[in-house]
């Protein structure tokens, strides 16, 4: 079962529909710890602000469960947009807040110096990716994905960055560390490129120790 974590912060149905279109046979939108345990894959989607996101995960008593599934059980996990940003040690949006601390680093505001780069960063932007990351299997060179954000996660260990995007500055847009994947863009809204990426994620189950 592929679990889409419901913490009240997301376009849950869009994500569920896209995962189904990618071939996910059993997709469940849930906020239950039992489902986290039963899931073969976990997706933490997300839209919205960092403090609210953490508050909702806390309220849903999901924080320890998610950390356990990723860090100890090494279950395939995909964080999307805010679901990526929340993996940080801390978030610097409307004050400083603790994050899930699964990836050491900070979620910070994009810095764009020239006026032509407006924020939020909204729309289709191409990414440069590392072909070793299984998420990008079968994608063309410099594929376009849909972005809709003002913040990004700056990791302490840059070796987990497997894709970057340039908009005013170059920033990491995909992380990969063993079973852990995260994208700053929205695969569920990135048409065929996004569906391909989700399909690749669903197929990562036997690559825990990659």
């Amino acid at each position: 079962m592929i679990m889409i974590v419901d913490y009240g912060m997301s376009n849950l149905r869009s994500v569920a529909k896209a995962v189904e279109a990618a071939g996910g046979r059993s997709v469940k939108v849930s906020n239950k710890l039992l489902d986290l345990q039963a899931a073969t894959h976990i997706i933490l989607p997300g839209q919205g602000a960092f403090p609210d996101g953490m508050a909702n995960l806390k309220k849903g008593k999901l924080i320890e469960g998610i950390r356990h599934q990723i860090n100890t059980l090494k279950k395939p996990f995909l964080g999307i947009c805010l679901g990526m940003q929340l993996l940080a040690t801390s978030g610097h949006e409307s004050g400083v807040n603790n994050g899930l601390n699964i990836i050491s680093g900070k979620t910070i505001h994009l810095t764009v110096k020239e006026k032509k780069y407006k924020l939020p960063h909204i729309g289709w932007n191409d990414i440069a990716y590392n072909i070793k990351c299984p998420l990008f299997k079968g994608l063309s060179k410099s594929p376009d994905f849909y972005f809709d954000h003002s913040y990004y996660l700056e990791p302490l260990d840059s070796s987990i960055t497997v894709a970057t995007c340039t908009y005013g500055q170059t920033f990491p847009v995909t992380f990969w560390r063993q079973n852990l994947f995260a994208t700053l863009f929205h695969p569920e809204k990135s048409q065929t490129n996004g569906i391909k990426l989700l399909k690749n994620f669903i197929q990562t189950q036997f690559q825990y120790h990659a």
């Binding site: 149905r13 609210d52 289709w124 932007n125």
Partner: protein, 251 residues
Amino acid sequence: MLKTRLIPTVLFKDHSLVKSVQFANLRMLGNPIQTVKVYNARNVDELVFLDIGAPIDNHEPQYEVVSEISEDCFMPLTVGGGIKTVGQIRRLLKIGADKIALNTYAFKSPSLIRDAANKFGSQAIVVSIDVKRVNANRYEIFITGGKQATGIEVTKWAKEVARRGAGEILLTSIDHDGQMLGYDLQLIKAIAKAINIPIIASGGAGKPEHFVSAIKNGADAVAAASIFHYTQYTPQSIKNYMRRKGIPVRL
């Protein structure tokens, strides 16, 4: 590089896809759900879906319709029309909308913009502004489907919605709507100068050149409806043209 978005606008009223001219003379054009499916199959960049009856009849957002169109909509979907509460926004985002367009009720109660942006992030909140030229140099905003004058000058309101946390502005010229003679470039230029959040230009596109002019005058994205209903141009053919004119697009 960030691509310039070309966004079909789907207007509906009482379950029918409609198209207006200067916000009046509605023509029924069929089934909105079917139309969204076609746009999805055509791999468009994004879609704006507006219930133009809602602010006039004061009815709730049509959740069933939104839910149905999001069944196979693997592109960003902005939903608008008569939205007035954070609760309605939450429900629409939950059933498949990615962004929400606020208009009449954001004007009547501007704190809605900040409340919504704080809850769902600025990136999910679009403020839709309908504008009429009242004399050579003055544009004012109109609400309730263009029926109600406010007397407020457009750049003043655009600055205020940006300050209150809107992520984008959908800027529609009522005068140019449905005319297919081009966007109101003077209007786009004025707003692009006034604010620093993305502007989606809307109202007037009838030829591929019109999209290029809108971008050159400061629009970040271009929306259109009539051109897709009444001409042989497709989003793809227009983007091919835009690319030839040096505008980055996603093909």
